[in-house]
Structures are given as C-alpha cells and as structure tokens.
C-alpha cells in the first residue's frame, strides 16, 4: 500500500501536460515571462494545475471547466461562504480572478500586484462605482466614490503612504460582511459595535482616548446612541480637520456635535441643555466662528476631541479644577497670569446667560423700539406738516 502514491505518479505522468505542450497552441494567451514572476509561477505550477481535466486528442481538447481555486486555497472557501461576495449569489458572480487577476497573480501586471494597495480603490470601484451590471443605486456608488477624495485615499495616492486605510482594511478582504444585515452584523468590521476597533487598529491613540471618554464609557456598556468614529468623521469621506467641508473643520464642529445634542429625543433622554438655552451661538466665539474665523474656540477646544468627559469628572477639561487651564490654552497663552483665579471666575458660565445680561439685552430692546417709534412718529408728522404747507402754498 505504501507504493500506491508512487504507482499513481507513474501512471499519471503520461497524462500530465507540460507548459510547453500548452504553449504550442496558446502562445498568444499567456506571457510566460510575466507568469514566472507571479505567485503561481514562482511555485512552478503549470497550466493544468489550474486548468485540470484536459484530455488532448488529435482534434484538440474540450473547453476547460471553471478554475476552482478552492482546490488548493481551501481555507478561503469558508470565509467566502460568509462573505457578501460569496453568499448573495451575485449576477454576474464575483470570481477570485475579478480581484486577484488570473495568470499573473501578485506580479506587477496583476490586479492585485505587489503595490496593489495603491490601485485597490480602482479595483473595488471597478464594480462598486463603474460596473453597470450590478444594481447599485447612484447613492451607493457615490458613497463608495467619496472614499477616493478622503484623507485615507489621498494619502495613499499623493504621498504613497500605502499603509493608509484602503477598502479591505475596514471591510475585510475575503470575509466582507455587511453592517446592515442582522445575521452578519455581529461580526462585520463596519458594524456599529465594531467601528471603533476597526478604526482603532490604526488610530490606537484616539481609540484609547475614546474608550476613556464619556462617549466611550457609555459605548462600552452597550449604549448604541453613543457616537462612534463615523458619526463625527463620516465613513468614507473622512477629511482632515482643516478641509472646509470636513465635519471636523472648526466651523462645522458645532453642527457635528449638535446632530445629537440638539436632537429632541436625546435632549429628553439624557438631559442635554437645549440649544436655545446655550449661548455659544451668540457668544463671541460662536459669532466669530460663524463668520469663518477658525482661530476661536469651538466645542472641542474646551470639551476635548476624543476624550470628552462630564464636567463632574475631575479629569475633565471642563471640571472646575481644570477649566482655568483649558481657557488659558488660548487666553493667557502669552501672558500667564494667575490661571487659577481666571478659571474660577470663568467657571460661572455654564453656557447660560447671567441674569444681568438678559436684563441689559431687554432694556436695550425697549430703548431701541422706543427710539425707533419716536423717529417714526416725528418723521411722519414732520412730513405731514411739510406737505400740508406745500398744499396751502399751491392754493
């Protein structure tokens, strides 16, 4: 019985086609030089390792069947079974070669070459943006396309930093699970409960801060209302904070935070100060920001970016102990006077107007209305007299 493999090899040898035999006819199909640099070529696999079951007769041979990569790459099969590309039976189906290419896998001319991360966006985009055979909506196509202008892709394309995030870093490669299907939701890298870890794979510092924050702590306890990375940074169109259309551009920061903090449902549920009662929008900071001056304080300047903590937390940048320091970051930058006293007095405004401010505003409104009323009255009787006199004169 030990000899069985040996016998099998001996028996099979006569049926094994050499590459040269295939090339006799198919020279135009394959560039052997390039093939030899591919992953399979380097392993010295020949044609019939993939195109198996070909019996050559004098008339030639039958068309070969589909190549089954899983014969060797059997671990991938299981992953693909759970992947959106595998289980949804797409028409046309997504085949291995659609992503990996056929003959020149991992060579310079392959779909996924050595520098494949640079062209990955175009490869995925080939179907998700451009291929009309799939029934993606325009919205979906644009959503995918928006990644192209994101900081992640621009960094790869312009700076060649190929370790910046590509499609597969967030969505996975063989095992791509959608985040909108309940059955896969539990595992999807882009599902809400996994987003922070997906991003945190690279952004470890931010993840650490987020996990310490009020948002993060609540998130870890399973609260799904809490914002995750993509709520403030977007999913695909992630832009640097100095890009004007970025959600994290200073001018846009209040809108980003107020998405939740002015939502009546959340206001009720979590007791946020309703927008009307906060004075940021009318404050010196708020008005200057609306004017487009990004040197003024926005929400994150005082509350922090990822490490946002309740003011009751002594670690918080807005706790009564630390508020002075926080204000001094901008205000006493050049003139470090007694920060402690500065902070204590500053702590008196919890986004609310002092009653005196309200009175002053009210008194001024009354004065303005009265004055305008007087102007109107006097001007109308003045005109009345002028025209009456003119009439008399004309008579």
């Amino acid at each position: 019985m030990r000899l069985l493999p040996v016998i099998a090899v001996i028996v099979l040898i006569p049926f094994h086609l050499t590459a040269q035999e295939c090339l006799d006819c198919h020279e135009d199909v394959i560039d052997m030089k390039a093939y030899e640099h591919s992953a399979h070529g380097r392993q010295e696999l020949t044609c019939d390792d993939c195109h198996s079951g070909i019996e050559v007769t004098d008339e030639g041979h039958e068309p070969p069947g589909n190549v089954n990569c899983m014969e060797c790459h059997d671990g991938i099969a299981e992953l693909l079974d759970h992947s959106i590309h595998g289980y949804t039976k797409l028409t046309p189906p997504v085949l291995c070669k659609d992503c990996h290419g056929d003959h020149y896998i991992l060579s310079e001319v392959s779909g996924i070459g050595r520098d494949f991360r640079i062209s990955l966006n175009e490869m995925c985009g080939g179907c998700h943006v451009h291929n009309e055979a799939y029934s993606f909506s325009d919205e979906d196509r644009n959503f995918v396309k928006s990644y192209f202008t994101s900081v992640h892709n621009v960094t790869i394309q312009n700076s060649g930093l190929i370790f910046s995030a590509t499609c597969v870093d967030c969505h996975g490669s063989h095992l791509i699970e959608p985040d909108d299907s309940p059955e896969c939701n539990a595992h999807s890298k882009t599902a809400r409960q996994h987003i922070q870890n997906t991003c945190g794979n690279c952004h470890k510092g931010s993840l650490k801060e987020f996990n310490m924050s009020a948002h993060g702590q609540s998130f870890l306890k399973g609260n799904k209302d809490v914002p995750v990375c993509t709520d403030c940074h977007e999913a695909h169109l992630i832009l640097n904070h100095y890009e004007k259309s970025s959600m994290t551009y200073p001018v846009n920061i209040p809108r980003t935070c107020l998405k939740c903090h002015s939502d009546p449902v959340y206001i009720k549920k979590y007791g946020f100060s309703p927008l009307k009662q906060t004075n940021y929008g009318d404050s010196f900071h708020g008005v200057a920001l609306k004017l487009g001056d990004i040197s003024v304080a926005t929400c994150v300047s005082c509350h922090g970016k990822h490490k946002i903590l309740s003011q009751d937390n002594p670690e918080s940048s807005i706790s009564s102990d630390k508020l002075g320091e926080t204000c001094a970051k901008c205000h006493l930058k050049d003139n470090p006077v007694d920060i402690e006293s500065f902070g204590k007095i500053h702590a008196m405004t919890a986004h609310q107007y002092h009653p005196i401010s309200k009175w002053v505003a009210l008194i001024y409104k009354v004065i303005i209305v009265t004055t305008l009323g007087f102007f109107g009255f006097y001007m109308s009787i003045d005109l009345f007299r002028t025209f009456r006199n003119k009439k008399k004169k004309n008579r």
Partner: protein, 362 residues
C-alpha cells in the same frame, strides 16, 4: 438797537445828533476827533458812523479808510461843510453809503438816518442772501468728517457680527478675521482720539466754548420747544418755536453721540482687552460688555441711518442734501426760519416770526 458813532470837531453837531435821537431806539456815541474815533471803533461794535470831512489831525477820508479796516460791516456817512460833486464822489469811493451837507435840520437828519438805515438793511439782507451764515468752522467740519469715516468703517467691520452667516469669510485672511478686527480697532482708536480732541476743543477754544454753551440743553425751553414743534407739525399751532443755533433735536443728537461713543468705547475696550478684564471681573461682565456693544451699535447705526439721514438728506427742505457739512454755511431763509434766536443773537436784529413765515408762504 442801532449803535451810531458820530465824529466831528464841532461839538454843536455832536449835540444835535444826541438831541435828535433822544427818544429813538438809536444809541449815539460821539467823538471829537478822528483819533478818538479810531480808539472807540476798536473797542466797540458800531453799525453806523457819521464823520466830518475836515478835522484837525486825521481827516474824514482817512478815518473812513481806517474804519473800513477795523469794522468792515459798519456803514459810513460823510458830513461836509460844503457840498461839491467831488467830495461826494470821494465819499462813495471810500465806502460811504451817503453824505450830508452841513448845516442840517433835525428833520433832515431823521430823514437821512431812516434812509441810511433802510439802505443798510437792504445791503445786509442782500449780503446775507448771497453768502448766508457761517454755522460750522473748518475745524468742526473736519471733526465731523473724521467722525463719518471712523463711524462708517466701524459699522462696515462691525455689522458682519449681526449677520455672521451672510458675511462668512468676508474680510478674512487665512481663516481668521484679523483684517476685519484690525480695521475695526484702528477706526476705534481714530474715534477715541477724535473724542479726546473734541473735549480739548470745547474746553480750550472760544468757538468750542460758545458752541457748547449754545448746544447745552436749556430746561424747560427745549422741552417746551419739543411740544410746541409737535403741535406746529400737527397743525395745532401756526408757527414753529424760535430755535437757537441748535434746536432740541440737534441737542439730542449731539448728546446721543456723546453717550453712544462713551458706551461703545468702554464696552469695546473691555472686549478688546477681554483677557485682562476676565482676570479682574467675573466673565459675565465681558458677556454684558458684548451685549451692550451689540445693542448700542444697533441703536447708533439705526439712529444715523434713519434719523440723521432723514434730517440731513430726505427732509423735503434739504433734499437731496443739506450742504452745511461741506460749506459750513446756511442760507438766510434757514437761518431766519429755523435758527431765529441765533439770527437775533448774531445780528442784534429782532425777528418778527409772523412776518418771516408769511413772507415764506408768498
């Protein structure tokens, strides 16, 4: 009251003048020599001068010339012992209105006086009508101009704060409002310096003193004037009140500007030096300063845009523009109708308001 200086070396003539106008509203001052007359002209304000031609020492014609230099608005009449065409022509050449031949009777003197006063009034009226009255000197006009420029720039660079979304990115350099803020602060400094200058001006110049006196509110006159004016506008009264150089509205505007500037400067400085303020005062003080600066600005801008622009541009008698801010002068009609008391004060002429208004209607 008309003040007349009579110059003659013959005391009989001087006495005859005194006697002739004993019970008339004419004040006679006499001088026995031309040299004394020059001294009197220098110290007193005369409307008319009668002078003899031939006197020991300085003669009449020389006195005429001298008097013209000392008091150009005074009218002159020559008295001669012998009437010749030549002396009459000479008299006119030296700016005399008329001449009279000695001796003359009291009736002749009365007639001459009436004629001369009539001519003088005609001349003054004609002059007033052609050149008008000086209202603001160049200094005040330049102050006003500086005010216009600084106020406009402050408005231009401050108004964006009322409509931040609309003015987004305007006057910005590298995403900060540094240019807007810089223009605002420079204009503010200009206005502060102007205010300080104005204080010095009203404290240390005669014109400033006088104008301050004239613009200072007089209670109850200004309040009565206001009611009176409203009644006049409504047709309840036939004539408007007699106003001085500044009517109650102009006084109100002036003190409103002072109040507004004071409030804006104090609140503005508090915002400019907010860090320093916050190290001394609680932060809500800065908030109040911001609110005050905001609302006072609205008040000031609306007052200028509506009230001041109405009064100097849209008001039918001034439309399209009252030119006083450029020329510093106002015409006789406006002076008589609207600054009656000022006309009386500067000319010494009493104004009959009914007569003026009936003239105006014709």
């Amino acid at each position: 009251m008309i003040r007349v200086l009579v110059v003659d070396d013959e005391s009989v003539i001087l006495r005859s003048f005194k006697k002739a106008f004993e019970n008339k509203p004419i004040e006679i001052e006499t001088s026995e020599s031309a040299e004394r007359a020059v001294e009197k002209l220098r110290s007193g304000d005369f409307d008319l001068m009668f002078t003899d031609m031939k006197m020991p020492g300085m003669d009449g014609l020389t006195l005429l010339r001298e008097a013209g230099r000392i008091n150009p608005t005074m009218d002159k009449v020559l008295m001669t012992g012998y009437s010749t065409v030549e002396s009459a022509v000479n008299a006119m050449k030296f700016g005399a209105l008329d001449y009279i031949t000695k001796p003359f009777s009291t009736d002749e003197l009365h007639a001459l006086m009436n004629k001369v006063i009539g001519m003088r009034q005609q001349r003054i009226k004609a002059q007033e009508e052609s050149v008008g009255f000086k209202r603001f000197n160049l200094n005040l006009r330049i102050q006003h101009l500086v005010m216009i420029v600084s106020f406009s720039l402050l408005t231009l660079t401050g108004v964006p704060f009322f409509f931040p979304e609309f003015f987004k990115g305007v006057m910005h350099v590298s995403e900060t409002s540094v240019v807007r803020g810089m223009i605002h602060r420079i204009s503010a400094v200009v206005m502060i310096l102007l205010s300080l200058y104005h204080i010095l001006y009203i404290m240390f110049t005669d014109d400033g003193h006088l104008n301050l006196k004239l613009i200072f509110p007089k209670i109850p006159k200004d309040i009565i004037d206001a009611f009176h004016m409203v009644q006049y506008n409504l047709g309840i009264r036939k004539y408007p009140p007699k106003f001085g150089k500044y009517d109650f509205i102009e006084k109100f505007e002036y003190f409103a500007v002072i109040w507004g500037t004071l409030v804006m400067v104090i609140s503005g400085l508090m915002l400019w030096f907010a860090n320093a303020v916050m190290t001394i005062f609680p932060v809500w003080i800065v908030d109040v300063a911001r609110i005050v600066h905001h609302y006072e600005a609205i008040l000031a801008i609306l007052s200028i845009a509506i009230w001041h622009m109405y009064n100097v541009h849209l008001k039918p008698e001034h439309f399209p523009m009252n030119r006083v801010w450029l020329t510093g002068r106002i015409d006789r009609k406006t002076m008589l109708l609207h600054h009656t008391l000022e006309y009386e004060r500067t000319t010494g002429q009493l104004v009959d308001i009914e007569q003026i208004h009936s003239e105006e209607k014709e």
